[in-house]
């Protein structure tokens, strides 16, 4: 009986040894430890959700209309800039429409698209 326990004990040790040692014999180099994949990224999505939250606060009468409009405008400016950045190469080829106008249109299109896709959020 002791013999069986000895075999089982050895198997446990060998399994652990395998887990620890196998990476050194693996051909797969694996990805090197990634560093800063996470950033405090600003996306149109996050602007959109912030605007929605603001709108809900306004509709729930937690903020004044004046503050709501002012903040909404600020968010729209951020969104405009985001859209501008995203669409920069495309716009360089089109000289007929002013950049600001195009950005506005694109912003509206993007927001419309997101609204359709996600529904309104609180």
């Amino acid at each position: 009986m002791d013999f069986i326990y000895l075999i089982v004990g050895s198997a446990i040790i060998l399994t652990c040894f395998y887990f620890v040692v196998s990476p050194f014999f693996s051909r797969n180099e694996g990805r090197s430890s990634e560093t800063d994949s996470w950033e405090s990224t600003l996306t149109l999505d996050s602007v959109y959700s912030a605007v929605n939250e603001l709108e809900m606060d306004y509709l729930m009468k937690k903020i004044k209309e004046k503050d709501f409009l002012q903040l909404k405008e600020q968010y729209q400016m951020i969104a405009t800039e985001l859209v501008k950045q995203e669409g920069k190469p495309k716009r360089e080829t089109n000289n007929n429409v002013s950049q600001a106008e195009e950005a506005e249109l694109e912003l509206l299109r993007e927001l419309q698209k997101l609204r359709k896709k996600k529904g309104r959020s609180s």
Partner: protein, 657 residues
């Protein structure tokens, strides 16, 4: 068996030490193979701790009394479920439970989709250090696989009070909470070492922290329910040192879960959040130290021994290590932290909530440690007991209820006093109306009335939040009411899950305040056919019976119960004389309706015709358990669908984009 069990423990020490070293080498040499090998080490730790656990379960289930632990906590006639739950009935088994849970958590982390994150080797090292400590402690003072010198014919059996369904859930849920707090701690320290002061570590640990908090809540609730049913004194919370030890991290993590939102949205309170996470983790070690040191008298304590000293040393080491890391990065944290700008804002209200929660934690800590403090200063151990805790914690909890009533009414951006007051009028009026009704119907006790009215105020605030949110959504989207409520919650699960948790707390508060302020209690000796009248109840004693079941003697009193003059059946309090235990165990009989519990304890008897009963009517106790269930439900909602807010928006705002 002995050989395999001990191989797993010693192997655990070697592998945990190796995992730390491999991680350090991998970090220093920037060599992924070493990091991968350390990951293999974590897998091995999971492997050996699982083998050790299944082995112990097998030994317990098959009554292998040649093992000390099995002989000390089980016996032949113990039902199988309690043989298995004896796993965590003693010191050695509970240490193994810690170890296996910690190994599971660590493996989940290092094999998660975030495994390539540069913080992970640090996290893995810190968690492996904890695992190493537990394996070492098991070898030094709590080996579950130690053998007896002579094999006893039967084991000592399990304490009858532990033979209860609470034993299956309470320790495991609490341990899941305790162990879970090591994860945010490890991430916070990892982020500090890497000098990454952004909110990434918070984002990565949000679900872990909420899960740990959920389990701590569940553990405390189940513990209270178990004590209420099993201990026979009619209460659910005794301010026992070990109960307090599990309440302390609950308070600090509650504070953290709120303040973390401020860091995510506004980049404020960075030092505070890191301090709270470190404190919460240290408090879990403190709780474990209390249970194992025997320095304080507690129904939960495993008794005195050297284990307490080991925990004290480890706690001191981790504390000094954390303090060093925080101090060495303090300027960086401070530089990147944004101060609170407005006194009337969401962030200042959250900070106030945090200060109150931490003050509560300090008051509980002080009361818990006072016997030790008084002994070291005056030479005599002075226990402060429940009166101290009730008088100190009652105003603190009242303040928290009031804050929960007002905080949701404050907007995240551009909060103004006049808007807040407009929104607060209705909930406040409902609270005042509740106070007036209570006074009119003859309810006594100023503090209890204030507490109940504040709870109603808080409840009304949350109802208003749901109603206004639904109305706003209906107005904006033309959805029907059911869809609007569903979508409102679904689209911001974190906020509305939190609100549901608050509603659960409101129910608990009503239960706690009412059962403390308005209990009825009677101790009376009756003969067969005699009555006991209490509240709306009349109990008639019909006789005492004795029987034997599984070798245990059971004495049962039969009582007819009338409620408001109407027969509502019978109630049967018991005393059980266990074969393997010197003292009899009390089995409380409870009849519950929506507003009160009839709670009957068979105290003693002269013969089968004459008994002494302790009868209580505890108002609204069932609301505590319902409130606990609602809290768990709300936490689950916040946990499943919540997402972190982008600090990028804040940066853009601040940059004036």
């Amino acid at each position: 068996m002995y050989l395999i069990g001990n191989i797993t423990l010693y192997l655990g020490i070697v592998i945990a030490a190796y995992t730390i070293i491999a991680n350090v080498i991998g970090i220093r040499k920037q060599n992924n193979k070493w990091i991968e090998s350390a990951r293999g080490g974590v897998l091995s730790l999971l492997f050996v701790s699982l083998i050790a656990s299944f082995l112990l379960l097998y030994l317990l289930g098959t009554s292998q009394f040649q093992f000390e632990y099995v002989a000390a906590y089980t016996s032949h006639n113990l039902p199988m479920v309690y043989k298995l739950t004896a796993f965590w009935a003693g010191n050695a088994g509970s240490l193994l439970l810690w170890t296996v849970l910690l190994s599971v958590y660590t493996a989940m982390l290092v094999f998660s989709k975030e495994k390539q994150n540069s913080m992970m080797p640090y996290v893995s090292s810190i968690l492996s250090l904890n695992i190493l400590f537990f394996f070492v402690v098991m070898i030094l003072g709590g080996n579950p696989f130690a053998m007896t010198e002579t094999i006893p014919a039967d084991g000592k059996g399990l304490n009858p009070m532990l033979q209860h369904p609470g034993m299956i859930l309470h320790p495991v849920t609490l341990y899941l909470g305790y162990v879970g707090l090591a994860v945010p701690f490890a991430f916070a320290i990892g982020a500090l070492i890497l000098r990454r002061m952004d909110a990434e570590w918070i984002k990565l640990t949000r679900r872990w922290t909420i899960t740990a908090w959920l389990f701590l809540t569940l553990g405390n609730m189940i513990g209270g329910w178990w004590a209420y049913l099993e201990l026979g004194w009619g209460g659910y919370w005794a301010w026992d040192p070990v109960e307090n030890a599990s309440f302390l991290p609950w308070l600090t993590v509650s504070a953290f879960l709120h303040s973390v939102m401020i860091q995510e949205r506004k980049g404020m309170l960075k030092t505070w959040n890191i301090s709270l996470v470190i404190l919460s983790y240290l408090l879990t070690l403190f709780g474990t130290f209390l249970v194992r040191s025997g320095v304080l008298t507690s129904v939960h304590a495993f008794g005195s021994g050297p284990l307490g000293t080991y925990f004290l040393i480890f706690m001191a080491f981790m504390m000094l290590f954390s303090i060093y890391i925080v101090i060495s990065r303090y300027q960086l944290i401070k530089k990147e932290s944004i101060p609170i700008e407005s006194y009337f804002s969401k962030e200042s209200s959250f900070l106030l909530n945090n200060l109150i929660l931490v003050a509560g934690a300090f008051a509980v800590f002080w009361g818990t440690m006072y016997p030790l403090i008084s002994e070291s200063l005056k030479g005599t151990k002075i226990n402060v007991g429940a009166p101290y805790f009730n008088s100190v914690m009652a105003p603190i909890l009242l303040l928290l209820l009031l804050l929960m009533a007002v905080c949701p009414l404050i907007a995240w951006q551009k909060a103004t006093v006049d808007r807040f007051l407009k929104n607060a009028i209705w909930p406040f009026a409902v609270g005042v109306l509740a106070a007036i009704i209570l006074v009119v119907v003859g309810v006594k006790g100023t503090f209890a009335i204030i507490g109940l009215a504040s709870t109603v105020f808080m409840f009304a605030t949350h109802v208003q939040e749901f109603l206004q949110g639904t109305r706003a959504r209906m107005k904006a989207t033309k959805e029907n009411i059911a869809k609007a409520i569903y979508k409102l919650t679904r689209k911001n699960q974190r906020r509305y899950g939190g609100y549901i948790v608050h509603i659960g707390i409101a129910l608990i508060a009503i239960g706690v305040i009412s059962s403390h302020a308005y209990p009825e209690d009677i101790l009376k000796t009756v003969e067969r056919g005699e009555n006991i009248a209490i509240g709306d109840y009349v109990l008639t004693f019909n006789g005492l019976t004795e029987q034997t079941e599984n070798g245990n003697g059971i004495v049962t009193a039969d009582l007819k119960v009338d409620y408001n003059g109407k027969n509502v059946g019978s109630i049967n309090p018991e005393k059980i004389f266990y074969e393997t235990w010197p003292e009899p165990s009390t089995e409380v009989a409870i009849k519950t309706n929506w507003k009160e519990d009839l709670y009957v304890v068979l105290s003693s008897w002269e013969n089968s015709e004459k008994i002494t009963l302790q009868v209580k009517v505890n108002p609204f106790v069932s609301w505590i358990w319902i409130g606990g269930g609602i809290m768990v439900f709300g936490t689950a909602i916040a946990l499943i669908g919540g997402r972190t807010n982008s600090t990028g928006l804040l940066k853009a705002f601040r940059a004036g984009r």
